[in-house]
């Protein structure tokens, strides 16, 4: 029962914070709520015994990506939505289509064979050794590719963000 309670607390936290990400007026608040959401997902990962991934998630998302987001929002000074009021039609359409997608996906799951009450196989799947061995044997090539992707992205970001000299 304990784990169910934790699950519901974490899930409601992540859902509520995700909603706040979308509906907060102030971008800074959106960023903060997204961080909360990520931390709740961190909790989910721990629940699923993926400790290594949980920490990596924390370091990468909360520690790096969101700092970058916050940084940009602060630098661009987007503290208030200074956009003029526009027609609410797109927003209504957004909500409707989001809801439709949810319905379709849930319906698809329902019609398909959902994994039922399988008890989780809480072995050492999430341990560093296991994941590391996977990465450096079966997934070595993708791993190297991602490193290339990464360096390309880094160079690209530097080039893009650098001020052009006139």
């Amino acid at each position: 029962m304990n784990s169910q309670i934790i699950f519901f607390i974490l899930s409601s936290l992540s859902l509520v914070s995700a909603l706040f990400v979308v509906f907060s007026k102030n971008p800074i608040y959106s960023v903060m709520w997204l961080i909360v959401c990520f931390i709740s997902i961190f909790g989910h990962y721990l629940m699923l015994n993926a400790q290594f991934l949980a920490i990596i998630h924390l370091i990468v998302y909360a520690g790096a990506i969101m700092v970058l987001m916050l940084f940009t929002v602060m630098l661009l000074n987007l503290n208030k939505e200074s956009e003029p009021h526009k027609s609410p039609l797109p927003k209504v359409a957004a909500i409707i289509s989001g809801g439709l997608l949810l319905l379709v996906l849930l319906a698809a799951m329902h019609s398909g064979s959902l994994p039922g009450y399988i008890s989780p196989d809480l072995t050492d799947t999430g341990y560093v050794q296991k994941v590391g061995i996977k990465i450096f044997t079966d997934f070595l090539l993708p791993f190297e590719m991602t490193s290339i992707l990464f360096i390309a992205a880094m160079i690209g970001a530097v080039v893009l963000a650098k001020k052009e000299k006139h």
Binding site: N26, I28, M32, I35, Q51, F52, I55, I56, L58, I59, A62, G63, A64, V67, L70, F71, M74, L75, N79, Y127, V128, Q129
Partner: protein
Amino acid sequence: MTIFIFKAVLIFIIFLISLGIAAYSTYAERKVAAFLQDRIGPDRAGPFGLLQPLADGVKMFLKEEIIPTVSDKWLFILGPCLFMVTALMTSAVIPWGMPLEIGGKIYKLQVADLNIGILYILGVVSLGVYGIMIGGWSSNNKFALLGAIRASSQMISYELAMGMSVIAIILISNGSLSLTAIVESQKGLNWNVFYQPVAFLIFIICAFAECNRTPFDLPESESELIGGYHTEYSSMKLGLYLFAEYINMFISSAVISCLFFGGYNFPGLDYLNTVLPVNLVSLISIGILFVKIFFFIFFFMWIRWTIPRFRYDQLMRLGWQILMPLSIINVLVTGAVLTFFNK
């Protein structure tokens, strides 16, 4: 259930010790500064001024609580809280000593023995940026924002080299990420610092930067930015910021002791283990760890009152162009040496 009670008590004690050490660090800082400058330092409140932290605390509490009207109130309050929380959270994975034996049961002196202990520390440290950024931004003050941005970019930059230097340590301590395992692998005088001096150097430099201590205290450099990110803060919220910095210093000293100086290990521990009762040995080991921690706290202060502050570009160059490559080379060399000589 007793394990939970024990853990709760342990957490509480660590909390108190952290606060206490942070409080006395402020006192020690002033004392050390004074001594290094041929002065005496605070000595009025209590014998040798030992009650000075208390007086400072009281003063902080009694100061007027100011929240700027143009600031974002919630974030303004959230900032110091976050900073304090992240500072305290790090202490969860540090092994404080040999296990205690109470009522025939063995209790580890560690809140949580995660098998990813070091990563946990890095992760929590990376969260520490938020406290500073939020506080600095929500103050709605140019100096505070500049301080916050400096702090965040500095912390992100140095975190990388820090992580890389830790990898070398993981390599030589049987590939375990758990702090207990790392400490256990340094029995006797088999300390990592002797095998990994370069990693130690990188780590300690990065620790200075992560704690925003001189010579890396650009985020709060009073001569340029008044107070940096906490320019607008006053009263106990300022107190929290200052306090949390000292807690950070304490924790990073503890981490350095555990990673590089054998934690609670000292030569002769095994011998004592055979002669003395378990709990006494445990207490001695705790004492040893704290001696090391105090040395590093002193070292932090010593450095602060010796070396002047970097310029911002120098800081970035040091982080990216020197420490980063150096730590990567260190990892490569360590790996190569391990591969060629251990097989």
